[in-house]
């Protein structure tokens, strides 16, 4: 490591680190939210209409094995004007499977007697969805969302290779190219800190949700 860099590091504008963190954070959160929106109906459909070992569930599982950089490599090159959209799309494609997996498993584990009782009481499908199913699977959904955030934060690091750099990734690759290891190290460390902070927040939220289930009954 170049010792001289230790002295130049403090003069790297803090604003540029903050802006890079903000860009990465927004991008990862956006991709994970889009993944959540895409995978939620998919998991309800697959839980209602498919058996556990159906071909489609296996296809969705195998879809999750496709590495996100491969999506980036297929979608991003040559897309100068729409690079941001395709970068977000490639990250979103990677977040669908982890969220689907958790929510699908949670939906399959819903207590059958509870659902039957709800139907017998005349609860509509919409009411069952909003007052029973979603609250019960919420902790599992959050676990999937957490995994999706970790994945999108990590994979977003490779976006500069394909000509798009929304945040810390750009800083890291520029520093590596310019042989500035200290800045690259700081960018990588900041990415890890961001990931841990977000995961801790989601874990706290999840614990709160689980506790509220027990305190106030299952339905909110």
């Amino acid at each position: 490591m170049n010792v001289g860099e230790l002295f130049t590091l403090p003069f790297t504008p803090v604003n540029s680190y903050a802006a890079a963190c903000g860009g990465t954070l927004l991008f990862a959160l956006g991709a994970s939210l889009l993944g959540l929106i895409a995978s939620l109906p998919l998991s309800f459909l697959s839980a209602r209409f498919m058996r556990n070992s159906s071909v489609l569930t296996r296809v969705i599982t195998a879809f999750g094995f496709i590495p996100v950089p491969a999506w980036m490599a297929l979608l991003l090159p040559g897309q100068e004007r729409w690079a941001g959209f395709f970068a977000l799309l490639s990250l979103t494609l990677g977040t669908i499977s982890p969220i689907w997996k958790k929510s699908y498993a949670a939906l399959n584990d819903l207590p059958a007697p509870l659902m039957e009782t709800a139907s017998a009481c005349g609860m509509s499908r919409g009411a069952r969805l909003c007052r029973l199913e979603l609250p019960i699977i919420a902790p599992a959904l959050l676990a999937g969302f957490r995994r999706a955030i970790v994945m999108s934060l990590g994979w977003s690091l490779f976006l500069p290779v394909f000509g798009y750099a929304p945040g810390l990734d750009g800083l890291l690759f520029a520093a590596l190219k310019a042989h500035r290891p200290m800045i690259a190290f700081t960018a990588a460390a900041l990415l890890l800190v961001l990931s841990v902070l977000l995961c801790a927040l989601i874990a706290l939220w999840r614990r709160k949700l689980e506790k509220s289930h027990w305190r106030g009954g299952l339905a909110w």
Binding site: W155, P181, S195
Partner: protein, 198 residues
């Protein structure tokens, strides 16, 4: 070129999961029999899985180590959580009783681990290994972006030579390796469950 990339990828994943097994197995056993250690260990393992692998590789890559070594370290750290969790979940509440029983019949710890503890925890351990292997297979693609071996290199080459076929080839191989691991370890897990409950 493709075969070399596949072999490189398999080596990265195999070595890191193997190392994680070597470190995680005793760690999981110790945590199962020492309740005071179990909670902190599980917290650490959970914490490790909150770290994005490409970020960890980038962090190690900045240090004077090769991309392959950085990837190996990152994948080992990541897989460790799955292995240690597999063992502790497999021996969940019976850890202490098993230890007392094996001590009562005069078994050494090594013998008890080989004959009783590991076979009981095997289904859960195989489940953890399956998750570790699949996640590492996908994540090992990162190595190629830092100049290391594996199928990620094909993606980088595919982009630099504008050859989508190379990219598709790498996708197909990553998915095939992951499916093979999924199927193989699922069968092994089913067999282990059948062995415990004949």
């Amino acid at each position: 070129m493709v075969i070399r990339a596949i072999l490189g990828h398999l080596a990265l994943v195999g070595i890191s999961v193997g190392l994680a097994l070597l470190i995680g197995l005793p760690l999981g056993l110790v945590a199962s029999f020492k309740p005071s250690l179990k909670r902190p260990l599980l917290y650490i393992m959970t914490f490790l899985q909150w770290l994005p692998i490409p970020g960890v590789i980038a962090l190690f890559f900045v240090l004077p180590v090769s991309a392959n070594f950085a990837t190996l370290l990152a994948l080992t750290i990541f897989s460790l959580g799955f292995v240690a969790r597999g063992i502790t979940e497999g021996l969940n509440d019976i850890g202490n009783r098993l230890q007392e029983m094996s001590e009562a019949v005069g078994m050494t710890s090594g013998k008890a681990a080989r004959i009783i503890w590991i076979p009981i925890a095997l289904p859960s351990l195989l489940d953890g290994l399956r998750r570790a292997f699949i996640s590492s297979t996908v994540a090992a693609v990162s190595a190629g972006f830092f100049g290391g071996a594996g199928l990620g290199k094909l993606i980088v080459q595919g982009v630099s030579t504008s050859s989508p076929m190379l990219i598709w080839e790498s996708i197909v191989w990553v998915v095939l390796i992951a499916i093979a691991a999924y199927a193989g370890l699922s069968v092994a897990k089913r067999q282990a469950v059948a062995d415990i409950n004949p």
